[in-house]
């Protein structure tokens, strides 16, 4: 049993690092320091890494703010359950992202994006079922965008650790998206796969 766990551990580590570090050098930063030919030294970033970190950090911050607002405003059990999951999962992801960004010396935004400010204003004015539906719809859009953003970092980033972070986050984001779609379907009767 113990030996089995070790083998699985090694196998998954190898798989993740192999997938995350085989980027296109044509799009690496011009000042990239190399660990060895074909492998950038740790925390070497290109523009994709830096923009990804900034957008993901702002998005993660917004998710937590929206979730807190929802826990106060919503009366729906499933919507509140979703908001709790957001606070927990995004809280952890935000911490991890901050750690990686600091290591790579990427400054992260203090505020949420203008897009999110707009959504927040709109949600502020709503109550009850209207609020729940608007919140869940906004969550669907946010998670759709996040899934595309993660795929961008996985495919085009340079910093292996950030890429690995994106790869590890992807299944969670897709699970959140699916959860939001399911709740939206429960609330409105919309079709889901």
């Amino acid at each position: 049993m113990y030996r089995y766990a070790i083998i699985v551990g090694i196998a998954s580590l190898t798989a993740t690092s192999a997938v995350a570090q085989m980027g296109n050098p044509g799009f690496w930063g011009a000042d990239t320091k190399m660990e060895k030919p074909g492998v950038p030294a740790p925390h070497q970033t290109n523009n994709t890494d830096r923009l990804f970190a900034q957008l993901a950090a702002a998005g993660g911050k917004a998710e937590v703010e929206f979730a807190k607002m929802t826990l106060q405003k919503s009366t729906s059990k499933s919507v509140k359950g979703f908001a709790e999951m957001m606070t927990k999962d995004h809280g952890a992801a935000n911490d991890k992202l901050r750690e990686l960004a600091e290591a790579a010396k990427i400054p992260l935004p203090k505020d949420i994006t203008p897009d999110h400010t707009e959504t927040k204003k709109r949600l502020d004015g709503l109550d009850g079922r209207d609020y729940d539906i608007a919140y869940v719809k906004a969550q669907i859009v946010d998670h759709q965008k996040t899934a595309q953003l993660l795929a961008w970092e996985i495919g085009s980033g340079e910093d292996a650790q950030l890429q690995r972070f994106a790869a590890q986050t992807m299944p969670k984001v897709l699970r959140h998206l699916q959860a939001a779609q399911t709740i939206h379907a429960e609330l409105t009767g919309a079709a889901i796969r």
Partner: protein
Amino acid sequence: MPSKGVSSFVFAAGAAITLFSFNAFSDPLPPDLTYRPLPMQPFSEVKDQDEAMKPAVMQRQRDLFSKRYDLADRPMEGVMMSGGMKPVQAGVRVKLADGTTWDSLAGMKPAEIRDRGVLPEGFLPLPHVKQATGGQVFPQNQIDIIADQEHRDLRRFDVDFDLPDHLTPEFPPPIFLTTHPELGDVSRGQLLTIRNYYEFMNGIITPVQMEGLRLLLTPFPQEEFNQTEDRKVAEQSLGVACLDCHSNFHSNAAFHLTPDVRPQADRFRLDTTSLRGLFNQQIHGSKRSLRSVEDFTEFEQRTAYFNGDHVSATRKGVHLPDRPNQVAMMAQMQNIIDFPPSPKLDPFGRLDPALATEQELAGEKIFLGKGRCASCHIPQTAFMDNNMHDLKLERFYHVGKTYNDFVTLPDGPIKTFTLRGIKDSPPYLHDGRLMTLADTVEFFNLVLGTKLEQEEKDALVAYLLTL
């Protein structure tokens, strides 16, 4: 006997010569029967007259609708369209002729129904709101959003949209992509327009799809929306975009007249078809059987835009998309639009017994068997057979009667349309003559002579909702 054979031959030869020489001397019918004439009045005068006529035009159409249909807002309990924004309407809405019931009709022979004049009028081809002028007519929701976002006017001064909102598709409809099933609806609950498409779709679609989308959202001159005096919009207009009718690649129930028939009074109405699942469609256009979406996309500039009159198109400013570049890209974008999700169907279009209800399964059995639906709407090929069929509805009525200036003639062969996502696409049939799924069941029960019981009809409707 031989001499009779010889004389028949001589007679036939004589007839052929007579016909031949007759052709050489004959006049064709007047050109206006085929070609669009130029208006002979100043624009301002036409507009004044059209506006003065409009209340009577709309009243006449309302009268026809209320004679043919029950248009009440009666939604089905708990059944929404795929975006979850609009309920599906319940019940049969076509009105019966006096003294008949659905069962008594089903028991009569077609000729008897014809001779007694008891075919429900709602089963007849549906006239355009103003047949003599025809052309594209948009619903108010589309007019409002395009006015707001693009400052482009889709409102006609001669007619209004003639269907009540609750009998049309939800708006704006959701968009599902074959390339990103995991994302679900990517519309953000908004109508795609030239003002927002890039922000919504960047990061999700490819550059060629994006360029195709841009073209599908770009307005081009159209028969009623252009800059000449021959238009039905107040200001000189930039035109219309493909997705003005096919909102979010679905349909907003905007209607038109078929470009494939002349003269004007014989042209039947066309309800905008959805573009969902176009990738599985082998023939395009209810009458034209065009063989590729590229052909259809290219030719729509001649047809949806200009009624199949390339002469008129040239004068008003036709857009002729470049085949290898623009057309191909527009087609690529259209070809990634998926049907809405149908979780109860397996990969072959059959119900999963573990997920479907008893009634839905009973409906599927009727669909495949007694109801004969699957003879054309084959589940495995996205509920189509990629053929055109002639239902020969004229067995049930005397042809040639004029309703609201539209001459009721046989429909002839019409393409089999898909039934995937069908609850999202009212009204039904190529001209939108049927308001609900229950109407379609009664229509085909009569036309195909399937003699279904009420319970079977209800099961069939329940089944259609799962598609």
